[in-house]
Symmetry: C2
Subunit: 197 residues, 2 copies
DNA sequence: CCATAGACAGACAGGTTTGTCTGCTAGCGA
DNA sequence: TCGCTAGCAGACAAACCTGTCTGTCTATGG
């Protein structure tokens, strides 16, 4: 208990990482309940005891999976916003490019959180994480709208997040780039209309 | 085989109806995979053999459930549109009132189809039904937009359906009437902007 | 009065799921 | 060399899930 206790909280052992990567791919592709731990164990080539050492219960693995989804998707959203330049109004529109990029990846199946929430009743940790994620995105967008100097930042952010979630939800049905394009251009229209003058 | 053969195709026996009602409530509330046939059988107070006589497999019950969801939700959408008067542009906005009504009902958990699709991989009958439902709604809205005489009916309808799905998806997380209100007012804004002159 | 349809009750089979437990092996620092 | 950590392999228990089957009860129409 000397050298590793620092990295203990980071919990980034390679085996754990391998399990988590396999699991997150399977969960996203097939759904939380549809994937059993046996499948994850077989697919990641790990022993059952090892699996349960890292994740004492399936639910903890699911939570870890959602944290990854959050990190990845939030990152893509921020990157797309950044790519649109320094102007917050432009960023608010630019973030929708992440949608187009995402729906062109194959295996795209919409938003991992929305899909997860459909399987988890309210009050469960899974559901709570989803709510927290959506709230974080909304609050980020509200800040951006505020910086852009629009009249009602909360309303604009809400509209845009509705558009985003709609595109994500319909993306789980058919990964149609058309939906992303319409979401993006509608976002541009809403932002332009909300801007002062 | 004289009096009942007419109603045979309608398949509306009271027992079947009772099973279906119980199942559709449970499926919507907890999810497709989370509800086992045993629970449905117990809850509807029916014998196992009777259950399997009416629905030879769980999948058929799920399909029947989705047909109900489709009928109910489409009905509410149409009713809300009708209530807004004869003007198609008004109807396009008015249909969003169904959202507000829905999210105030308790036990509201968003769109049964979106939730179902999250559990069913592409290519399955469940997934197909969902796509068909969403396509039907979109096409209805496109017709309305066309009648309203907007410049690009397809685009307006797409925007509005994105908004609708977004509100439905976020409704599965928290049944916040605020989301419905913003969806509605944003719809009004988009319709007004799309109208000629 | 009795034959038949439809429903009830519940045992049963066979598969899957989560999670535990026992043993074995390989590396690594003391 | 010893002991510790981390991982592998796989048996096992207990619950649960779908679907089948046997047998009983009751209402209704001929």
């Amino acid at each position: 208990m000397k050298s590793q206790e620092v990295s203990m909280s980071a919990t980034a052992s390679p085996t754990r990482q391998r399990i988590l990567e396999t699991a997150t791919a399977l969960f996203y592709a097939r759904g939380l309940r549809a994937v059993g731990v046996d499948t994850i164990i077989a697919e990641s080539g790990v022993a059952k005891a090892t699996f349960y050492k890292h994740f004492p219960a399936k639910d903890e693995l699911i939570i870890a999976h959602l944290d990854i989804v959050d990190k990845v998707w939030s990152g893509q959203l921020h990157d797309a916003a950044q790519a649109a330049g320094p102007n917050p109004a432009d960023q608010l529109v630019g973030l929708f490019d992440a949608l187009d990029t995402a729906c062109r990846r194959n295996g795209y199946r919409g938003c991992g959180f929305i899909n997860a929430a459909a399987e988890a009743p309210a009050g469960t940790p899974v559901h709570d994480r989803t709510v927290a994620h959506k709230r974080a995105v909304l609050s980020w967008m509200t800040d951006l709208a505020h910086e852009a100097g629009v009249e009602d930042p909360a309303r604009l952010a809400r509209s845009l997040s509705l558009l985003l979630d709609g595109a994500l939800a319909s993306g789980a049905l058919d990964a149609d780039p058309e939906a992303a394009a319409v979401a993006s251009s509608t976002a541009a229209q809403l932002v332009a209309a909300a801007l002062p003058h």
